[in-house]
Amino acid sequence: MIETAIYILFAVYGLSGLLYFIRLLRGPTVVDSILAADCVSLDVALIALLLSIYYRNSFLAVGALFLVLWAFILDVFAAKYLTRGEVGT
């Protein structure tokens, strides 16, 4: 049962990630691209966790935590750069 459900979930989340990625490429402004990159990285983290369930392997799940943290750091640092002109200070 769970294998069939995971196939359908891969299809739906992959389609969502593809739509986000089209917005990343076509975004009129840079903040649209940053927002779409945020959503794509969280989507990839979720697909990695689903893969670790599908293969019953715990080592595949480690990268998901770094993807979640990277999305937050991308948002905050890009906002700081766009507001102040530099990241430090």
């Binding site: 769970i2 739509l19 917005r23 779409a36 998901a64 935590l65 979640v68 999305a71 937050f72 766009l82």
Partner: protein
């Protein structure tokens, strides 16, 4: 068995929310509306599925996956509003996307 069913229900809810957010990213026409769609797609479409993954992994005995999933879900719940507010503030402050009916910048320009 019951944990797997709960996890699959949460994953299905998240799939619907994620697909609606991805469609909304193309249907809305300004950045601030797209921010709303992306936040719906992130909190509804990533927080619940991560909890669902934790339930399914707990049924299968994959305890490291449970820990990483719960931690990632809490991080998504905390960091998504912060990132959205930071991006909206940056887009407004750096004048990348203009707000049409701006109620807060009126006195500054006069």
């Amino acid at each position: 068995m019951i944990l797997t069913v709960i996890g699959l229900i949460l994953l299905a809810i998240g799939a619907v929310c994620d697909l609606l957010g991805a469609i909304g990213m193309h249907r809305f026409n300004t950045f601030y509306l797209r921010l709303h769609a992306a936040t719906v797609g992130t909190v509804g479409g990533k927080f619940y599925p991560l909890l669902g993954v934790a339930f399914i992994a707990a049924e299968q005995g994959l305890w490291p996956v449970v820990g990483i999933s719960v931690l990632a879900a809490l991080l998504v719940l905390v960091t998504t509003p912060v990132g959205s507010h930071a991006l909206a503030y940056a887009a407004s402050k750096a004048r990348i996307v203009e707000i049409k009916l701006d109620e807060f910048r009126g006195e500054e320009d006069v």
